[in-house]
């Protein structure tokens, strides 16, 4: 293609403007001195200060982080097991149902997942007395359930691509099965497990719908707090909170991208060197 694709570049520019203008506008208005969220009233950082001293926000953030840490870790353990089972145990009884069970939560609308779990918790509490109070435990259970299947999908795909002959070769060379698992399978799957954990963590940290159904009084996560405020309209302190989120995430993603990019470049360089020395 020698011609510059003018149309495509134009759409690309429009698309990125569409992506980022709302976010940038929100960031600018977080420094708005006016109480009216959409009318400019001079530069001010007071919303950041009020956010920092807001005990409710801090408590909600801590609860969200606690739930996300526990649920992502549990989801990674269970999800990796399921992904490993589906990729390595080709025939077992109930495989068909099992593979259906790890796909269904991916397409299940969140409202239905939320309501079905809430109904179950209420019925369970009716019959057995547990869970007497919905909160951290019930939300974490729900988050584990719907985020573990994402981990499974990633791990299964990674192990499916990996060459199983290497595992066989290690066995042939006299490794014990658990050694193969530790030295071959786990390192192969590790990037997938890590990105699965990260995905589960962010899904949990971000969830509103399922959390709103499975939580109880007194257990408000950060998205739920934002949800209850935002339902009443635009407020400047949420603008400030959003700005902090975007900046933190932006730095994180840029850093991860930079590290990956550097690793890629080094790999390329090494390959080129190896190629040269063969000549």
């Amino acid at each position: 293609m020698n011609r510059r694709p003018v149309f495509l570049i134009t759409v690309l520019c429009f698309g990125f403007a569409f992506f980022y203008i709302p976010i940038l506008s929100m960031m600018v208005y977080s420094f708005n001195g006016s109480r009216l969220a959409t009318v400019w009233g001079g530069f001010s950082t007071k919303w950041y200060v009020s956010l920092w001293t807001n005990k409710q926000v801090i408590a909600a953030l801590l609860l969200s982080l606690k739930i996300a840490l526990v649920s992502a870790t549990m989801a990674t353990i269970l999800g990796t097991m399921a992904g490993f089972a589906l990729a390595r145990f080709t025939k077992f009884r109930g495989r068909f149902v099992f593979s259906g069970l790890v796909t269904a939560p991916l397409i299940m609308p969140e409202v239905i997942t939320g309501i079905s779990m809430l109904m179950m918790f209420i019925l369970l509490a009716d019959w057995t007395g547990w869970p007497g109070q919905r909160g951290f435990t019930t939300v974490t259970l729900a988050h584990i359930t719907f985020s573990m299947v994402f981990v499974t999908t990633i791990v299964q795909a990674r192990l499916g691509q990996a060459d199983r002959a290497i595992e066989e070769a290690a066995m042939d060379l006299g490794s014990r099965p658990w050694q193969v698992l530790r030295d071959v399978t786990l390192p192969t799957a590790f990037p997938a497990i890590l990105s699965g954990w990260l995905l589960a963590f962010t899904i949990s940290l971000d969830d509103v719908v399922i959390t709103s159904f499975t939580t109880g009084p007194g257990s408000t996560t950060l998205p739920l707090l934002i949800w209850s405020k935002v339902k009443l309209g635009v407020t400047p302190d949420i603008n400030a909170l959003a700005t902090i989120t975007v900046v933190v995430v932006g730095i994180g993603v840029a850093l991860a991208g930079w590290i990956l990019n550097r690793a890629e470049k080094r790999k390329l360089l090494e390959e080129r060197m190896a190629f040269r020395s063969n000549e």
């Binding site: 011609r3 694709p5 149309f7 570049i9 690309l12 698309g15 990125f16 992506f19 203008i21 709302p22 976010i23 506008s25 929100m26 959409t38 009318v39 269970l78 999800g79 399921a82 490993f84 089972a85 145990f89 080709t90 077992f92 109930g94 099992f98 069970l101 939560p105 299940m108 609308p109 969140e110 409202v111 239905i112 997942t113 309501i115 079905s116 779990m117 109904m119 179950m120 209420i122 019925l123 584990i144 359930t145 719907f146 573990m148 499974t152 595992e167 099965p177 399978t185 509103v208 934002i226 949800w227 935002v230 309209g233 635009v234 949420i238 603008n239 959003a242 994180g252 993603v253 840029a254």
Partner: protein, 307 residues
């Protein structure tokens, strides 16, 4: 797939049973059982007890009245229609905007490409709720964006059509717009990965044989990117059809989408059976396109194998 020695060892030691059983039981207990409960409650009748449903009474053991209402009550028919329309529109608009964007991404230089891809993914990692919220700030009556659009509108149309502000909030238009905004990355990424794999020499060959660029696009690029289009379409349509957050925040309360109807039946009306019935119906609606997709995929794989 042949049994490997590793998996045989796992089987012999009984480890495999444990590895399968733990996630299996978890999903059965916390996903399948709740769903079966919904299925069971969908054929119950509403009762003034706690929990507010029961079987028997004036109804026969199983009540199909909920399913009957689904097809006779205006509220449900309308909400299903609106959901399908909003989700369908959002999917089409995502495709129309996402396709040239994905194609454009394959045409820029390598170093630009990785930066731009990161910029597509970045909003993913920020909160979904906050992305919806960002549009609430833009669409409000007194916001700069609304005022800008109003000025443009007033400039274009005759004087007696002039507006003070454009009514955007709490409309279906707002719902579709915000859906396009939040789900566009889901469309761009699969499209990009299927377009990136295309062989550019095919384009060159078609050009050399005298095709005009647009014909090359129609005859060469578009058919080959079909898997990406279908995958992206499903990734947008399925979550959009069951969406609850967007219609609650920016939608029109008098024409709710199904997700909101389910939540309202459950929370406000305390009608568990009807909420379950609508949920089951919504699920049927989601499963259909997914099954079509897997059939399409199986067919495509069969074609690959036949080659």
């Amino acid at each position: 797939m042949a049994e490997t020695r590793l998996s045989r060892w796992f089987n012999r030691k009984g480890w495999s049973d444990l590895i399968i059983a733990m996630p299996y039981l978890w999903l059965v207990l916390w996903f399948m059982v709740p769903f079966l409960i919904v299925l069971a409650i969908s054929v119950a009748s509403q009762k003034p007890t706690a929990p507010p449903f029961g079987y028997g009474g004036e109804d026969p053991w199983i009540s199909l009245r909920g399913y009957q209402r689904l097809f006779t009550d205006d509220l449900y028919i309308r909400s299903f229609f609106i959901s399908l329309m909003n989700a369908g529109l959002a999917t089409i608009l995502c495709l129309l905007l996402g396709y040239p964007m994905a194609l454009g991404l394959t045409r820029v230089s390598k170093s630009w490409r990785s930066i731009l891809l990161m910029l597509v993914i970045l909003p993913f990692w920020t909160s979904f709720l906050l992305r919806v919220y960002a549009w609430m700030g833009l669409m409000g009556k007194s916001s700069w964006f609304n005022q800008l659009l109003t000025d443009i509108w007033n400039f274009v149309v005759p004087l007696n059509w002039a507006l003070k502000s454009i009514p955007m909030m709490n409309t279906n238009f707002a719902v579709v717009l915000v859906m396009v905004y939040t789900y566009l990355p889901f469309m761009i990424l699969p499209l990009y990965s299927s377009l990136e794999r295309l062989d550019p020499t095919l384009d060159e060959a078609a050009m050399d044989l005298g095709s005009r660029p647009f014909r090359v696009f129609l005859d060469v690029t578009l058919p080959q990117s079909m898997p990406g289009i279908i995958a992206g379409g499903l990734l947008v349509f399925i979550p959009a059809a069951g969406e609850l957050v967007i219609p609650t925040l920016v939608g029109d309360a008098s024409s709710p989408m199904i997700g909101r109807v389910i939540a309202d039946e459950f929370n406000s009306a305390r009608d568990w059976p009807m909420a379950s019935t609508v949920a089951v119906a919504l699920l049927v609606l989601m499963v259909l396109p997914t099954m079509l997709y897997s059939r399409y995929q199986a067919k495509a794989e069969g074609r690959e194998a036949a080659k």
